[in-house]
Chain length 216, copies 2
DNA sequence: CTGCACGCTGTGAGGGCGCTGAGGACGACC
DNA sequence: GGTCGTCCTCAGCGCCCTCACAGCGTGCAG
Protein backbone atom coordinates (compact mmCIF):
# COMPACT_ATOMS: atom_id res chain seq x y z
CA UNK A 1 0.00 0.00 0.00
CA UNK A 2 1.38 3.40 -1.01
CA UNK A 3 0.38 6.54 0.88
CA UNK A 4 1.17 9.86 -0.81
CA UNK A 5 0.51 12.65 1.68
CA UNK A 6 2.54 15.68 2.70
CA UNK A 7 0.99 16.39 6.10
CA UNK A 8 3.30 14.24 8.14
CA UNK A 9 0.87 13.82 11.03
CA UNK A 10 -1.86 12.43 8.82
CA UNK A 11 0.62 10.36 6.87
CA UNK A 12 2.01 8.60 9.88
CA UNK A 13 -1.43 8.13 11.41
CA UNK A 14 -2.51 6.42 8.19
CA UNK A 15 0.64 4.35 8.10
CA UNK A 16 0.19 3.10 11.62
CA UNK A 17 -3.50 2.38 11.16
CA UNK A 18 -3.01 0.50 7.93
CA UNK A 19 -0.10 -1.47 9.29
CA UNK A 20 -2.28 -2.53 12.18
CA UNK A 21 -4.68 -3.91 9.57
CA UNK A 22 -1.88 -5.96 8.11
CA UNK A 23 -0.99 -3.81 5.10
CA UNK A 24 2.58 -3.23 4.09
CA UNK A 25 2.76 0.56 3.86
CA UNK A 26 5.17 3.00 2.23
CA UNK A 27 4.83 6.76 2.48
CA UNK A 28 5.84 9.42 -0.03
CA UNK A 29 5.61 13.08 0.93
CA UNK A 30 5.73 14.84 -2.44
CA UNK A 31 4.10 14.41 -5.84
CA UNK A 32 7.24 13.43 -7.76
CA UNK A 33 8.30 10.93 -5.10
CA UNK A 34 4.83 9.44 -5.08
CA UNK A 35 4.82 9.10 -8.86
CA UNK A 36 8.20 7.38 -8.81
CA UNK A 37 7.12 4.97 -6.12
CA UNK A 38 3.88 4.17 -7.95
CA UNK A 39 5.75 3.65 -11.22
CA UNK A 40 8.14 1.26 -9.61
CA UNK A 41 5.11 -0.93 -9.02
CA UNK A 42 4.59 -3.61 -6.48
CA UNK A 43 1.74 -1.85 -4.72
CA UNK A 44 -1.77 -3.20 -4.45
CA UNK A 45 -3.31 0.24 -4.17
CA UNK A 46 -2.51 3.88 -3.48
CA UNK A 47 -3.97 6.52 -1.20
CA UNK A 48 -3.34 9.87 -2.81
CA UNK A 49 -3.72 13.36 -1.45
CA UNK A 50 -4.67 16.03 -4.00
CA UNK A 51 -2.73 18.97 -2.56
CA UNK A 52 0.87 17.95 -2.88
CA UNK A 53 4.13 19.81 -3.29
CA UNK A 54 5.72 19.42 -6.72
CA UNK A 55 2.85 17.73 -8.52
CA UNK A 56 -0.85 17.66 -7.79
CA UNK A 57 -2.70 14.43 -7.16
CA UNK A 58 -4.76 15.02 -10.29
CA UNK A 59 -1.69 15.33 -12.44
CA UNK A 60 -0.01 12.41 -10.73
CA UNK A 61 -2.82 9.99 -11.45
CA UNK A 62 -3.21 11.34 -14.99
CA UNK A 63 0.44 10.64 -15.75
CA UNK A 64 0.26 7.25 -14.12
CA UNK A 65 -2.67 6.22 -16.33
CA UNK A 66 -0.99 7.69 -19.41
CA UNK A 67 1.91 5.35 -18.68
CA UNK A 68 -0.45 2.40 -18.46
CA UNK A 69 -0.20 1.82 -14.74
CA UNK A 70 -3.54 0.65 -13.47
CA UNK A 71 -3.15 0.31 -9.75
CA UNK A 72 -6.26 1.27 -7.79
CA UNK A 73 -6.15 4.87 -6.56
CA UNK A 74 -8.16 6.28 -3.68
CA UNK A 75 -8.01 10.06 -3.81
CA UNK A 76 -8.10 12.16 -0.67
CA UNK A 77 -8.97 15.83 -0.69
CA UNK A 78 -10.19 18.73 1.40
CA UNK A 79 -12.20 19.95 -1.58
CA UNK A 80 -15.74 18.65 -1.46
CA UNK A 81 -17.13 20.46 -4.48
CA UNK A 82 -18.93 18.16 -6.87
CA UNK A 83 -16.70 19.20 -9.76
CA UNK A 84 -13.51 18.63 -7.77
CA UNK A 85 -14.69 15.13 -7.09
CA UNK A 86 -15.75 14.50 -10.68
CA UNK A 87 -12.43 15.87 -11.94
CA UNK A 88 -10.46 13.60 -9.65
CA UNK A 89 -12.36 10.54 -10.78
CA UNK A 90 -12.14 11.51 -14.42
CA UNK A 91 -8.38 11.91 -14.14
CA UNK A 92 -8.29 8.19 -13.43
CA UNK A 93 -8.82 7.84 -9.69
CA UNK A 94 -11.04 4.95 -8.65
CA UNK A 95 -12.50 6.50 -5.53
CA UNK A 96 -12.60 9.89 -3.87
CA UNK A 97 -12.91 10.73 -0.22
CA UNK A 98 -13.19 14.20 1.27
CA UNK A 99 -11.39 15.29 4.42
CA UNK A 100 -12.23 14.97 7.17
CA UNK A 101 -13.03 11.34 6.59
CA UNK A 102 -14.05 8.42 8.73
CA UNK A 103 -11.33 5.86 9.20
CA UNK A 104 -13.87 3.05 9.11
CA UNK A 105 -15.12 4.24 5.73
CA UNK A 106 -11.60 4.59 4.38
CA UNK A 107 -10.88 0.98 5.26
CA UNK A 108 -14.13 -0.28 3.76
CA UNK A 109 -13.51 1.63 0.54
CA UNK A 110 -9.98 0.32 0.41
CA UNK A 111 -11.24 -3.23 0.74
CA UNK A 112 -13.77 -2.63 -2.03
CA UNK A 113 -10.98 -1.28 -4.22
CA UNK A 114 -8.70 -4.23 -3.58
CA UNK A 115 -11.54 -6.62 -4.26
CA UNK A 116 -12.16 -4.99 -7.59
CA UNK A 117 -8.52 -5.33 -8.55
CA UNK A 118 -8.40 -9.04 -7.84
CA UNK A 119 -9.40 -11.53 -10.54
CA UNK A 120 -12.32 -12.74 -8.45
CA UNK A 121 -14.10 -10.48 -6.04
CA UNK A 122 -15.92 -12.17 -3.24
CA UNK A 123 -16.22 -10.32 0.04
CA UNK A 124 -15.16 -13.52 1.74
CA UNK A 125 -12.32 -15.46 0.19
CA UNK A 126 -12.75 -19.22 0.08
CA UNK A 127 -10.31 -21.90 -1.06
CA UNK A 128 -11.10 -25.49 -0.24
CA UNK A 129 -12.41 -25.53 3.32
CA UNK A 130 -10.48 -22.38 4.16
CA UNK A 131 -12.39 -19.11 4.50
CA UNK A 132 -10.96 -15.68 5.05
CA UNK A 133 -13.04 -12.60 5.78
CA UNK A 134 -11.01 -9.43 5.20
CA UNK A 135 -13.55 -7.15 6.87
CA UNK A 136 -13.88 -9.22 10.04
CA UNK A 137 -10.26 -10.25 9.93
CA UNK A 138 -11.15 -13.84 10.56
CA UNK A 139 -10.03 -17.17 9.19
CA UNK A 140 -11.78 -20.51 9.54
CA UNK A 141 -10.72 -23.97 8.48
CA UNK A 142 -13.60 -26.41 8.14
CA UNK A 143 -15.69 -23.98 10.21
CA UNK A 144 -13.16 -23.96 13.01
CA UNK A 145 -11.62 -20.60 13.77
CA UNK A 146 -7.90 -20.26 13.18
CA UNK A 147 -6.01 -17.64 15.18
CA UNK A 148 -3.46 -15.82 13.04
CA UNK A 149 -1.07 -13.00 13.77
CA UNK A 150 -1.26 -9.91 11.65
CA UNK A 151 1.61 -10.98 9.40
CA UNK A 152 0.30 -14.48 8.98
CA UNK A 153 -3.07 -13.06 8.07
CA UNK A 154 -1.64 -10.71 5.45
CA UNK A 155 0.35 -13.56 3.93
CA UNK A 156 -2.63 -15.90 3.73
CA UNK A 157 -4.79 -13.09 2.39
CA UNK A 158 -2.38 -12.47 -0.45
CA UNK A 159 -2.08 -16.15 -1.29
CA UNK A 160 -5.83 -16.71 -1.20
CA UNK A 161 -6.36 -14.00 -3.78
CA UNK A 162 -4.38 -16.10 -6.25
CA UNK A 163 -5.19 -19.72 -5.49
CA UNK A 164 -3.24 -22.17 -7.60
CA UNK A 165 -0.80 -19.56 -8.82
CA UNK A 166 2.84 -19.70 -7.88
CA UNK A 167 3.87 -16.63 -5.92
CA UNK A 168 7.56 -15.90 -5.52
CA UNK A 169 9.20 -14.92 -2.27
CA UNK A 170 10.22 -11.60 -3.77
CA UNK A 171 6.63 -10.83 -4.69
CA UNK A 172 5.50 -11.74 -1.20
CA UNK A 173 8.17 -9.54 0.32
CA UNK A 174 7.02 -6.68 -1.89
CA UNK A 175 3.35 -7.00 -1.06
CA UNK A 176 3.10 -8.44 2.41
CA UNK A 177 6.15 -6.82 3.94
CA UNK A 178 7.00 -3.10 3.91
CA UNK A 179 9.09 -2.27 0.88
CA UNK A 180 10.93 0.37 2.87
CA UNK A 181 12.53 -2.16 5.20
CA UNK A 182 14.93 -4.69 3.82
CA UNK A 183 13.79 -8.13 4.89
CA UNK A 184 15.53 -11.42 4.25
CA UNK A 185 13.65 -13.89 2.04
CA UNK A 186 14.05 -16.36 4.84
CA UNK A 187 11.37 -14.49 6.76
CA UNK A 188 8.91 -15.70 4.15
CA UNK A 189 10.00 -19.28 4.69
CA UNK A 190 9.56 -18.88 8.40
CA UNK A 191 6.04 -17.51 8.06
CA UNK A 192 5.08 -20.11 5.52
CA UNK A 193 6.14 -22.60 8.14
CA UNK A 194 3.90 -20.96 10.76
CA UNK A 195 0.96 -20.91 8.34
CA UNK A 196 1.39 -24.55 7.43
CA UNK A 197 1.14 -25.55 11.06
CA UNK A 198 -2.14 -23.68 11.35
CA UNK A 199 -3.92 -24.36 8.08
CA UNK A 200 -2.55 -27.76 7.20
CA UNK A 201 0.77 -28.82 5.85
CA UNK A 202 -0.11 -29.95 2.34
CA UNK A 203 -2.32 -26.96 1.62
CA UNK A 204 0.66 -24.72 0.95
CA UNK A 205 2.96 -26.27 -1.62
CA UNK A 206 6.57 -25.32 -2.17
CA UNK A 207 7.64 -24.92 -5.77
CA UNK A 208 11.37 -25.18 -5.51
CA UNK A 209 13.17 -22.31 -7.17
CA UNK A 210 9.94 -20.45 -7.87
CA UNK A 211 7.86 -19.80 -4.78
CA UNK A 212 4.75 -21.08 -3.08
CA UNK A 213 1.32 -22.15 -4.24
CA UNK A 214 -1.93 -22.45 -2.35
CA UNK A 215 -3.62 -25.69 -3.40
CA UNK A 216 -7.01 -24.79 -4.93
CA UNK B 1 -27.27 -0.20 -16.88
CA UNK B 2 -29.65 -1.45 -14.22
CA UNK B 3 -31.32 0.93 -11.78
CA UNK B 4 -32.97 -0.60 -8.73
CA UNK B 5 -34.94 2.10 -6.95
CA UNK B 6 -38.46 2.21 -5.57
CA UNK B 7 -39.06 5.96 -5.50
CA UNK B 8 -40.50 6.34 -8.95
CA UNK B 9 -39.59 10.01 -9.30
CA UNK B 10 -35.93 9.40 -8.59
CA UNK B 11 -35.92 6.26 -10.70
CA UNK B 12 -37.24 7.96 -13.78
CA UNK B 13 -35.01 10.98 -13.28
CA UNK B 14 -32.02 8.65 -13.20
CA UNK B 15 -33.29 6.77 -16.21
CA UNK B 16 -33.67 9.91 -18.29
CA UNK B 17 -30.34 11.32 -17.21
CA UNK B 18 -28.43 8.13 -17.93
CA UNK B 19 -30.15 7.63 -21.25
CA UNK B 20 -29.08 11.14 -22.18
CA UNK B 21 -25.51 9.98 -21.49
CA UNK B 22 -25.98 7.11 -23.90
CA UNK B 23 -26.64 4.27 -21.47
CA UNK B 24 -29.32 1.69 -22.07
CA UNK B 25 -31.26 1.71 -18.81
CA UNK B 26 -33.64 -0.75 -17.19
CA UNK B 27 -35.43 0.01 -13.95
CA UNK B 28 -36.54 -2.42 -11.25
CA UNK B 29 -38.70 -1.14 -8.40
CA UNK B 30 -38.34 -3.93 -5.82
CA UNK B 31 -35.52 -5.98 -4.36
CA UNK B 32 -36.57 -9.35 -5.82
CA UNK B 33 -37.14 -7.88 -9.28
CA UNK B 34 -33.75 -6.19 -9.12
CA UNK B 35 -32.03 -9.41 -8.13
CA UNK B 36 -33.68 -11.29 -10.98
CA UNK B 37 -32.71 -8.65 -13.49
CA UNK B 38 -29.11 -8.59 -12.25
CA UNK B 39 -28.90 -12.38 -12.35
CA UNK B 40 -30.13 -12.45 -15.88
CA UNK B 41 -26.94 -10.59 -16.75
CA UNK B 42 -26.12 -8.37 -19.64
CA UNK B 43 -25.65 -5.21 -17.58
CA UNK B 44 -22.40 -3.29 -17.34
CA UNK B 45 -23.20 -1.96 -13.89
CA UNK B 46 -25.99 -1.47 -11.40
CA UNK B 47 -27.22 1.44 -9.33
CA UNK B 48 -28.81 0.06 -6.22
CA UNK B 49 -30.88 1.70 -3.55
CA UNK B 50 -30.57 0.28 -0.04
CA UNK B 51 -34.14 0.78 1.16
CA UNK B 52 -36.15 -1.48 -1.08
CA UNK B 53 -39.39 -3.37 -0.69
CA UNK B 54 -38.99 -7.12 -0.51
CA UNK B 55 -35.21 -7.32 -0.16
CA UNK B 56 -32.72 -4.78 1.09
CA UNK B 57 -29.90 -3.58 -1.12
CA UNK B 58 -27.40 -5.10 1.29
CA UNK B 59 -28.97 -8.51 1.00
CA UNK B 60 -29.38 -8.19 -2.74
CA UNK B 61 -25.72 -7.56 -3.39
CA UNK B 62 -24.72 -10.23 -0.90
CA UNK B 63 -26.77 -12.84 -2.74
CA UNK B 64 -25.50 -11.65 -6.08
CA UNK B 65 -21.89 -12.09 -5.00
CA UNK B 66 -22.64 -15.44 -3.41
CA UNK B 67 -23.88 -16.56 -6.83
CA UNK B 68 -20.64 -15.38 -8.43
CA UNK B 69 -22.02 -12.42 -10.30
CA UNK B 70 -19.43 -9.68 -10.34
CA UNK B 71 -21.06 -6.75 -12.04
CA UNK B 72 -20.06 -3.38 -10.61
CA UNK B 73 -22.53 -2.10 -8.03
CA UNK B 74 -22.96 1.52 -6.96
CA UNK B 75 -25.00 1.66 -3.80
CA UNK B 76 -27.31 4.54 -3.03
CA UNK B 77 -28.61 5.31 0.43
CA UNK B 78 -30.10 7.96 2.65
CA UNK B 79 -28.05 6.58 5.53
CA UNK B 80 -24.78 8.44 5.86
CA UNK B 81 -23.47 6.79 9.00
CA UNK B 82 -19.94 5.52 8.63
CA UNK B 83 -20.93 1.98 9.57
CA UNK B 84 -23.82 1.93 7.10
CA UNK B 85 -21.36 2.81 4.40
CA UNK B 86 -18.78 0.29 5.54
CA UNK B 87 -21.42 -2.43 5.75
CA UNK B 88 -22.65 -1.74 2.25
CA UNK B 89 -19.16 -1.95 0.83
CA UNK B 90 -18.33 -5.07 2.80
CA UNK B 91 -21.45 -6.76 1.47
CA UNK B 92 -19.86 -6.52 -1.94
CA UNK B 93 -20.82 -3.10 -3.32
CA UNK B 94 -18.08 -1.31 -5.23
CA UNK B 95 -19.07 2.23 -4.37
CA UNK B 96 -21.48 3.99 -2.02
CA UNK B 97 -23.18 7.33 -2.43
CA UNK B 98 -25.41 9.03 0.13
CA UNK B 99 -28.59 10.87 -0.78
CA UNK B 100 -28.91 13.61 -1.64
CA UNK B 101 -26.16 13.22 -4.18
CA UNK B 102 -24.79 15.31 -6.98
CA UNK B 103 -25.64 14.04 -10.41
CA UNK B 104 -22.22 15.07 -11.68
CA UNK B 105 -20.57 12.98 -8.99
CA UNK B 106 -22.80 10.00 -9.71
CA UNK B 107 -21.78 10.04 -13.35
CA UNK B 108 -18.10 10.41 -12.54
CA UNK B 109 -18.24 7.50 -10.10
CA UNK B 110 -20.10 5.40 -12.62
CA UNK B 111 -17.44 6.09 -15.22
CA UNK B 112 -14.71 5.14 -12.74
CA UNK B 113 -16.55 1.90 -12.04
CA UNK B 114 -17.00 1.02 -15.70
CA UNK B 115 -13.37 1.84 -16.44
CA UNK B 116 -12.39 -1.08 -14.25
CA UNK B 117 -13.38 -3.70 -16.82
CA UNK B 118 -12.89 -7.41 -16.59
CA UNK B 119 -9.42 -8.40 -15.42
CA UNK B 120 -7.21 -9.81 -18.14
CA UNK B 121 -7.22 -13.54 -18.64
CA UNK B 122 -4.17 -15.57 -17.70
CA UNK B 123 -2.18 -16.66 -20.72
CA UNK B 124 -1.61 -20.34 -21.29
CA UNK B 125 0.80 -21.71 -23.85
CA UNK B 126 -0.43 -24.71 -25.83
CA UNK B 127 1.37 -26.87 -28.37
CA UNK B 128 -0.28 -30.12 -29.44
CA UNK B 129 -1.68 -31.69 -26.30
CA UNK B 130 0.90 -29.93 -24.18
CA UNK B 131 -0.20 -27.00 -22.06
CA UNK B 132 1.96 -24.74 -19.98
CA UNK B 133 0.59 -22.17 -17.56
CA UNK B 134 3.32 -19.71 -16.55
CA UNK B 135 1.36 -18.24 -13.63
CA UNK B 136 0.45 -21.57 -12.10
CA UNK B 137 3.77 -22.99 -13.18
CA UNK B 138 1.99 -26.08 -14.25
CA UNK B 139 2.39 -28.35 -17.26
CA UNK B 140 -0.09 -30.93 -18.50
CA UNK B 141 0.23 -33.48 -21.25
CA UNK B 142 -3.17 -34.68 -22.50
CA UNK B 143 -4.66 -33.32 -19.26
CA UNK B 144 -2.25 -35.29 -17.11
CA UNK B 145 -0.04 -33.21 -14.87
CA UNK B 146 3.69 -33.36 -15.55
CA UNK B 147 6.05 -32.56 -12.69
CA UNK B 148 9.01 -30.49 -13.83
CA UNK B 149 11.97 -29.04 -12.01
CA UNK B 150 12.59 -25.35 -12.30
CA UNK B 151 15.23 -25.72 -15.01
CA UNK B 152 13.14 -28.14 -17.00
CA UNK B 153 10.22 -25.76 -16.77
CA UNK B 154 12.25 -22.81 -17.99
CA UNK B 155 13.54 -24.84 -20.91
CA UNK B 156 10.11 -26.04 -21.98
CA UNK B 157 8.73 -22.55 -21.54
CA UNK B 158 11.33 -21.17 -23.93
CA UNK B 159 10.76 -23.88 -26.50
CA UNK B 160 6.98 -23.57 -26.38
CA UNK B 161 7.23 -19.91 -27.25
CA UNK B 162 8.91 -20.94 -30.51
CA UNK B 163 7.09 -24.09 -31.63
CA UNK B 164 8.44 -25.54 -34.87
CA UNK B 165 11.51 -23.31 -34.84
CA UNK B 166 14.99 -24.72 -34.50
CA UNK B 167 16.64 -23.35 -31.37
CA UNK B 168 20.39 -23.72 -30.97
CA UNK B 169 22.08 -24.87 -27.81
CA UNK B 170 23.91 -21.57 -27.56
CA UNK B 171 20.62 -19.68 -27.65
CA UNK B 172 19.20 -21.92 -24.97
CA UNK B 173 22.26 -21.45 -22.80
CA UNK B 174 21.90 -17.69 -23.18
CA UNK B 175 18.22 -17.54 -22.32
CA UNK B 176 17.41 -20.47 -20.09
CA UNK B 177 20.66 -20.63 -18.21
CA UNK B 178 22.21 -17.84 -16.21
CA UNK B 179 24.10 -15.78 -18.80
CA UNK B 180 26.81 -14.90 -16.29
CA UNK B 181 27.91 -18.45 -15.56
CA UNK B 182 29.76 -20.47 -18.18
CA UNK B 183 27.93 -23.74 -18.70
CA UNK B 184 28.88 -26.60 -20.97
CA UNK B 185 26.52 -27.14 -23.94
CA UNK B 186 26.19 -30.68 -22.74
CA UNK B 187 23.93 -29.43 -19.96
CA UNK B 188 21.36 -28.63 -22.62
CA UNK B 189 21.56 -32.16 -23.97
CA UNK B 190 21.09 -33.51 -20.49
CA UNK B 191 17.98 -31.45 -19.86
CA UNK B 192 16.53 -32.15 -23.27
CA UNK B 193 16.88 -35.78 -22.27
CA UNK B 194 15.00 -35.20 -19.01
CA UNK B 195 12.25 -33.35 -20.83
CA UNK B 196 11.83 -36.05 -23.46
CA UNK B 197 11.25 -38.63 -20.76
CA UNK B 198 8.50 -36.50 -19.28
CA UNK B 199 6.68 -35.03 -22.27
CA UNK B 200 7.25 -37.76 -24.86
CA UNK B 201 10.28 -38.69 -26.87
CA UNK B 202 9.15 -37.72 -30.35
CA UNK B 203 7.86 -34.32 -29.31
CA UNK B 204 11.31 -32.80 -29.07
CA UNK B 205 13.30 -33.37 -32.25
CA UNK B 206 17.06 -33.11 -32.61
CA UNK B 207 18.34 -31.21 -35.62
CA UNK B 208 21.85 -32.45 -35.85
CA UNK B 209 24.40 -29.66 -35.90
CA UNK B 210 21.76 -26.96 -35.42
CA UNK B 211 19.75 -27.45 -32.26
CA UNK B 212 16.33 -28.65 -31.17
CA UNK B 213 12.78 -28.19 -32.39
CA UNK B 214 9.49 -28.64 -30.59
CA UNK B 215 7.07 -30.47 -32.89
CA UNK B 216 4.03 -28.24 -33.44
C1' DC C 1 32.35 -50.58 -44.31
C1' DT C 2 35.12 -47.44 -41.63
C1' DG C 3 36.03 -43.51 -38.99
C1' DC C 4 34.71 -39.36 -36.96
C1' DA C 5 31.83 -36.03 -34.89
C1' DC C 6 27.91 -35.20 -32.59
C1' DG C 7 24.43 -36.39 -29.36
C1' DC C 8 22.55 -39.37 -25.45
C1' DT C 9 22.53 -41.03 -20.75
C1' DG C 10 23.93 -43.33 -16.15
C1' DT C 11 26.54 -41.99 -12.32
C1' DG C 12 27.81 -39.30 -8.65
C1' DA C 13 29.65 -35.13 -6.35
C1' DG C 14 28.58 -30.50 -4.89
C1' DG C 15 25.97 -27.11 -3.59
C1' DG C 16 21.88 -24.30 -3.63
C1' DC C 17 17.49 -24.05 -1.62
C1' DG C 18 14.15 -24.50 1.78
C1' DC C 19 12.84 -25.98 6.67
C1' DT C 20 13.25 -25.57 11.52
C1' DG C 21 14.44 -24.57 16.41
C1' DA C 22 16.55 -21.19 19.17
C1' DG C 23 16.78 -16.76 20.60
C1' DG C 24 17.19 -11.59 20.52
C1' DA C 25 14.67 -7.13 19.80
C1' DC C 26 10.67 -4.65 20.45
C1' DG C 27 6.32 -3.17 22.10
C1' DA C 28 1.80 -3.87 24.72
C1' DC C 29 -0.15 -4.77 28.86
C1' DC C 30 -0.42 -5.60 33.75
C1' DG D 1 9.85 -4.29 36.10
C1' DG D 2 8.00 -8.57 34.53
C1' DT D 3 5.43 -11.17 31.27
C1' DC D 4 3.65 -12.19 27.05
C1' DG D 5 3.11 -12.07 22.08
C1' DT D 6 4.96 -10.99 17.67
C1' DC D 7 8.47 -10.32 14.32
C1' DC D 8 12.54 -11.53 12.34
C1' DT D 9 17.56 -13.20 12.16
C1' DC D 10 20.69 -16.84 12.42
C1' DA D 11 22.82 -21.19 11.86
C1' DG D 12 22.51 -26.02 11.03
C1' DC D 13 20.69 -29.67 8.46
C1' DG D 14 18.80 -32.46 4.82
C1' DC D 15 17.31 -33.11 0.34
C1' DC D 16 16.80 -32.48 -4.35
C1' DC D 17 18.49 -30.25 -8.26
C1' DT D 18 22.18 -29.26 -11.21
C1' DC D 19 25.75 -30.40 -14.05
C1' DA D 20 30.48 -32.43 -15.22
C1' DC D 21 32.25 -36.58 -16.85
C1' DA D 22 32.93 -40.50 -19.46
C1' DG D 23 31.41 -44.20 -22.11
C1' DC D 24 28.27 -45.55 -25.61
C1' DG D 25 25.07 -45.03 -29.60
C1' DT D 26 24.05 -43.03 -33.97
C1' DG D 27 24.15 -40.22 -38.26
C1' DC D 28 26.98 -38.86 -41.94
C1' DA D 29 30.86 -38.58 -45.33
C1' DG D 30 34.08 -40.96 -47.97
Amino acid sequence: MLVVEDESRLASALQRGLQAEGFAVDVAATGPKGLDAARHGGYDAMILDVMLPGLSGYELVRRLRAEEHWLPVLMLSAKDGEYDQADGLDCGADDYLTKPFSYVVLLARLRALLRRGAPERPTVLAVGDLRLDPARRRVTRADAEVALTSREFALLDYLMRRPGEVVSKIELLDHVWDAGVETAPNAVEVYVGYLRRKIGRERLETVRGAGYRLAP
